[in-house]
Structure formats: C-alpha cells, structure tokens
Symmetry: C2
Subunit: 268 residues, 2 copies
Amino acid sequence: MQSLPEISEEPELTQEAEAVSVAPLSNTPAFSPLYQQIKGLILGSLRSGEWKPGEAIPSEIELAARFRVSQGTVRKAIDELAAENLLLRRQGKGTFVATHAEQQVQFRFLKLVPNSGARGSEGPAQRDIMDCRRARASNDVAKALALRTGDTVLQARRVLSFGGIPVILEDIWLPANPFKGLTAERLASYKGPMYALFETEFNVRMVRAEEKIRAIAATESHAALLKVTLGTPLLSVERIAYTYQSEPMELRRGYYRTDTHHYQNDMS
Amino acid sequence: MQSLPEISEEPELTQEAEAVSVAPLSNTPAFSPLYQQIKGLILGSLRSGEWKPGEAIPSEIELAARFRVSQGTVRKAIDELAAENLLLRRQGKGTFVATHAEQQVQFRFLKLVPNSGARGSEGPAQRDIMDCRRARASNDVAKALALRTGDTVLQARRVLSFGGIPVILEDIWLPANPFKGLTAERLASYKGPMYALFETEFNVRMVRAEEKIRAIAATESHAALLKVTLGTPLLSVERIAYTYQSEPMELRRGYYRTDTHHYQNDMS
DNA sequence: CAGTGGTCTAGACCACACT
DNA sequence: GTGTGGTCTAGACCACTGC
C-alpha cells in the first residue's frame, strides 16, 4: 500500500491520512491505491459537512496540493464519486456536492412514471400528509433502521396525487434522533422533495436506496386513501435509504396504483 | 473535433475512422473527444463480431498502435465500455467481451430474488417451455420490436420454477429473421440462460433492457400455470431487451409470483 | 482575461497471471 | 520472466464559464 505523504499544514486531515496509510509497500494483503485513499478523505469531508450540498468543493489543483498528490490522482477519486452521484462536475465552473434540491433529479429514487407520457408531463405532485407522530420501533422497523426494538422513531403517512388522482400511499419511518423537531406541519408546509428538506433542515443526505417490490391486494385503508376498490392489485415498494457509506436512515413502505402509472427500471 | 490519424494498414477501419473524424479542430458545433471515437471503433468491432463473447480483445498496447493513439486514450475508451458491462477487464489476463454464459451474471436482467435468502441459494431454476411458434406481430408487439404490424415473429411461453414451485410465467416475442431455426425443442434442451443461447447460436448479444412493472390480478391462464387462485396479485414485468447500441431484439412479458420472491432494485 | 474541468500524451513503476 | 491491466506522475493543450 502506498502511503499518503504527511500533511502537516492540514491538521484536521493528518489523522485521517495516517488512518488509511499504514502498511508497507509490497506484498500487502490489502492493497489500496492512492486515489482510493483520496476518495476516502473527500468522503470524510462530505460526511463531516465541510462542504454542504449545493456548494462547490475546492478545485482539483487545490485538492492535489492539499493532499500532496498529482491532479490526475485527485481527478480519478472525484471521477468515482461523481459516478456514484455524490459529486457533480460542471466544466468551467467547478465540482459541486450533489443535492436532492435540483430540478433534474427531483425524484431520484422514485421510479414511478406516467404511462406512455414524458416524465413529469403532468405538473408537480400534490403531497398530503395524513399523519406524523412519535412511536416505538417494531421488530422489523428496528431491524431495517439498525435500531433496537422499542427505540423511538418518527412515523409519517402521506398520499401523493398526480392530476388530482391519488397514486401513491407511503408510510415512512425515521430514527427520532437525527430528525428531532420534525412535525407534520413542517412536512406539510415544505414545497419540494422530502429528501431536500432532510438535507437543509437536518443535514441528512440520502445517497443510496434499496427497494423490494411485491404485488399485493389493497386492504380497506389502502382502498380508502387511494380511492380504489378493495382487493385492487397494488405495487408494494419497501425502500431503505442510506446516507454516506451505508447507514440506513429511512424506511419507506409505498403502495402504488399502476393503472395510470408504472414502475420503470432501466438496466445496463 | 480532433481527427483520428490515418490508418492505412487497417483497411477495414479506415472507413470508420474517416466517418467519425471530419470536422476541423476549433469552434466545432459537435466536439467529440478522441477516446469517444476510439470507443466507437471498438463498439464497431464488437458489433461486427470481430471478437466473440468470452474472447479476449487485443491488449491496450496493440489497440493503441492500431489506432495510433496513446495507451491512456485507449484505456479511457475501454473503461467506459467496461462500465457499461460490454467488456470485462481482468488484471494480468486481458480484456474480454462480456457474455451471459458466466456463473456470476447468470441472470443479469432478472431481478427476482428469494425472500430474505442469498441469491441462488435454492439451486438452479427449472425451465419448462410450454410453447414456441411463428406468429404475426400485433400492433403493440411490432411497435416494441421496431417491426411492422403483421411481420413474422417467434412467440414462446415458459414457466420458471424454483424448488418445485412455479414462480415466473413468461411470454416472449422475437423477430423471426435473426432467430431463424429456433424451435421449442432447442429451447427446452438448452441448459443455461436463454440469453447465452442467443449469443452462441444466433450471435445476438443483449446488452441493455428496460422494464415496466405493474401489479395485476391473475387471469385464469396465469392461475393455472402458476398454481395460484384466480385474482391473486402478480407483478407484471414488460421487458424490452436491446443489442449493441439500441436495436430492440426481444419483448418479454413476465408474470411473477411475489409470495416467496420479490423484485429487488438497488439505486445509487 | 483567468480559472475551472476535460483531453491527450509519455514514461515509470506496481500487481497479477501464466509459463 | 514476460505480458497483461492498474496506478501515478508531469506537462501540454482544449473547452467552457464568468468577470
């Protein structure tokens, strides 16, 4: 493993640099390229909030000087972070911390689109918060959020409507601690994606998500809120969203009507 | 736009090289970096079958010499093709044309996994071909496959079972021409993924796929073949698979039971 | 104009696989 | 050892943005 050069002028980074570069050069069981170590340092600055979502990070040349590596090495680290949608490169302007509060990526984790229509061709969604209260984590909720059964969680329920038609019913669970002070009123009054609110108000940025999809029959409460008949087939979408690295920060159980919309998944 | 150097020793490539490099250097409306042009040339060789799935392509040094560019430029072109799962890099061995006939990517486009069990923990799938015949393309089938209504297509139906339980019912449509000679017997006797058979027998490699997912109620024929009761909610998965570039080559309508399995989608 | 990211090159060296 | 891909560097130049 190559060692990062010592960075005595950057006291807040020295510790991290030492933490990732310890092993000698040859025959190391876990070889880690320099650019991966740089990537880890940048990730650390993102996690610590040194650069906030939407802001520009230092230029490649500055970062190369700070870490005492070549610009090409910094570039490769940034390339990977940009490929993971954590950073956004803009030629001539700089490199920016990605955010959910952008038009182009309004619904980065919502794959439901109108049937045979261009995405978002029907105007913004109407969001109706039905409920938001503190509760105790059940077994499965605790497991999904890496909490202990009985820990306090925030639980919310909302309906998303498009063109006046209710299409999505969502139950949302959040760990209480990072989201202290979140209320139904705050949720209801916020215009824009919920994940953007999480960023600006609670400094929580969702970076990755896993979804498990099943087909179920609408129960009475589903039917009432989505205005369908009892037993209508619905998509059940269970999503766990993660922050930087792999800390689960949200559990969301969605129920989607698929008469006017469908779940779109492109693979390559 | 930069020009590719002339390659007089490579007659089969000269034409393509000229085709992609015409404009002068400055103020070009459509600037295309050299590595993108190289990527296009490599893609052309893949499409033409110069290198077959599973084979190694020439080394970076050889390709750099052939295209008269530096190794770094070839590397960047290969990097992107590898990121798109068209090539597979193996350190110390070479770069290989990706194939569906590998254990690790057995079901690259099948996202259905057993509930809370490791993927493939239940042994191989049992494939039962129910039908395979020539037919005329209906309106929607023709549109999906970029054919004309009434063109000849091959239509197949099969059931996939895991651990003796039927889980997936699939209707498959293929354009008749590229798959001339495909029979139910050939499908039934082939062990392994269908896409691997397409590669070896028909030189058709599926590279990309789009899926539209809905929840539906099982019809009588669904119920009979999947051994569920009439009206059971099923996932309806309509997939269009594409070959190199963007030619649609397969339409597949799948009906998934989601009692023992679920559709898993990871986003980042 | 200066500053940013983007491309291209050439060379050195490292890690891995096969022989 | 030889050949492959993988990393790192240094420098030159190009394209885009905004002052």
